[in-house]
Homo-oligomer: 197 residues x 4
DNA sequence: AATGAATGAGTCTTCATTCAT
DNA sequence: TATGAATGAAGACTCATTCAT
């Protein structure tokens, strides 16, 4: 009888991570107490500190997971065998769908970065930059190929699009009029239209 | 001899508001203690509670000021005597410049809304919606007039643009390569290009 | 009606210091909780942290008081107008009596120094050294004058005597056979006899 | 292949004892966590609790070892075939050398006695008394024989000397100007000189 | 003989707010 | 108008010890 799982069979660290994600998104990092997390996960404080060094550590794990997933997806789309216009459209739409599918992660991501310890913050920023640069390279590729306008610096284009992705957690509601895919198509379309020469 | 001012002549409530704005933007609302605010403003706790009912109140005042300013500016541009295309471009660029000029306010705005008490939160949301609707009306006016594409719902267009405005506090640095006006022109341009029929 | 005093009229900071001294001596610094201190002083935790920055601070205050008193007494005896032999005897006996009269302070002093924060520890050590050096100067004066033997380095003589003072808190009991003054006379006598040429 | 030893061949219990001694002396009993001890010894917590009933037990073992060694050495010198003056001098010097050679043990001994559980504390005190009495008997023997002054009660003489031994861990530094033997000779000399009739 | 996950009581400290003056 | 002492609830984190394996 393993001690690492409870009635539901999920290992303790993952139960803690899930509970923390939900609560951090709900009330914000500072407003979430360690006590609430462990109660929500059905374990004790000692257990949490057995697996995670600190509350900050827990937040960092959430970040690490999000970053890894997003980077992998972007790489897949960017490396695909398709015209550059298509690859940009696919990547731009995919990040929207993925973000909507994990709105909790997104809220945390954009709202709680400054709660990480300085060194962890730095690490996250650097991985984030890698992501940004991969996307920027795609835009530049299209600009070089002449299918995208060069009127706007690629950096700014990337920030423009990711601003709207970032913003999703502020306004998107699952029971709204548009499905995630529809929102994604619209936003990717806006990007592509803005890039027309 | 007025007791409400200090050596610098600025009234106490405004000194408090300025100190709070700076600190909230710097460390976030929860990480800023009332003690730090009063020290930074050079007054005592009693003074703060004389002018403001609570820490939350102070945050609310910051919001009120930002909202009022932005709404006034938007109204001015929207009501101007110019072609719709020009009015949208001007309004879109202006909100960028104003936001960059008050980056502290912007950081607070988008990051600390959930720290307001429920009723104040509701009030802010409602004023925010009014702002959103005024901008959406402009977009719709252009779509009806046939100068903007109807491919994307106006609501989504507004969120697209304001996502990028919101995002500014994440990436814009005063000593970067672009002036506020240049950034504003680029972002307004992207919006207008995306709206081309 | 002053808020700084309680039923007994003693100011809060002093009540806290007295309670802390008693408890630190009784159970040791680490075994004494802040909760116990405030309960024993009849105030709340908030009050303690209003006057003292930390538990460590409280300990430091105890040290500061003891050091000041001892240094003042030593200086008085050392500067007195009497033969060197008499001055050494008086100083040596006085530190014994004073230590016995404040055995709590002494227990804390010799047992809890390593609980101070590094910088405070350094500061206490430096004041302690000053005390040591004043006493050593007396011994050396006697050695130069030829009334004390030069067989043992003065430094070692000082440590020899203060070892026995330090040790008092380990064995002295108020209801033992000897009064503080008798113990003091004996210990001073041992020192002087050891110093006979 | 014995499981009780590691790469270095030292049995686990002894490795634990050595690690605990070092750490207790370094940071004090309360500031040393069981986790630190096992890490420093290269074993796990389970192993520690397999060999020792509690953290307190570990401390008790340190005491038992020190007491046994010191008692044996004192007995050997006291029972030697030499004039009483010589035997006292040898015993007095030997305890100084032994203490300096095991300064960690000494720090722990004099600083952590009150961390022992009441019954263990009592036991240690009683063995300590036995040691004290053996030494006192030597002093008294000299006093009866007329080679030592009777001016000071023998009990006090013992405490005087052991005070200085106790104090060694406070000031003695291995790289100081005096070797352990030189310090021992000086301190024994001071004792003998103080006892001259 | 040894592991290491889990406990749960306890630690120090922070902080928004109140209130007599 | 302004002070600052005092509150009290809540916060993150530590740690000796247990126990199924």
């Amino acid at each position: 009888m393993a001690r690492t799982t409870d009635g539901d069979g999920t290992p303790v660290p993952q139960r803690l991570l899930a509970a923390a994600t939900r609560l951090f998104a709900d009330r914000g990092y500072d407003r979430t107490s360690v006590q609430e997390i462990v109660e929500s996960a059905g374990v004790t404080k000692g257990a949490l500190y057995h697996y995670f060094g600190s509350k900050d550590d827990l937040l960092h794990e959430v970040y690490a997971r999000v970053l890894r997933v997003q980077q992998e997806r972007l790489d897949a789309f960017a490396d695909a065998d398709a015209p550059i216009e298509q690859r940009v459209r696919d990547a731009a739409a995919d990040v929207v769908v993925t973000t909507i599918d994990n709105l909790d992660d997104a809220s945390i991501f954009f709202r709680s970065m400054h709660h990480l310890s300085p060194e962890k913050n730095k690490q996250v920023r650097s991985e984030r930059r890698r992501y940004h640069e991969r996307f920027r390279a795609l835009i530049e590729e299209g600009q070089e190929a002449g299918v995208f306008s060069k009127a706007t610096p690629a950096d700014l284009v990337v920030d423009y699009h990711f601003g709207s992705v970032h913003h999703l957690s502020t306004w998107y509601r699952p029971n709204g009029p548009l499905t995630p895919q529809q929102v994604a198509d619209h936003l990717a379309d806006l990007l592509l239209r803005a890039l027309r020469p």
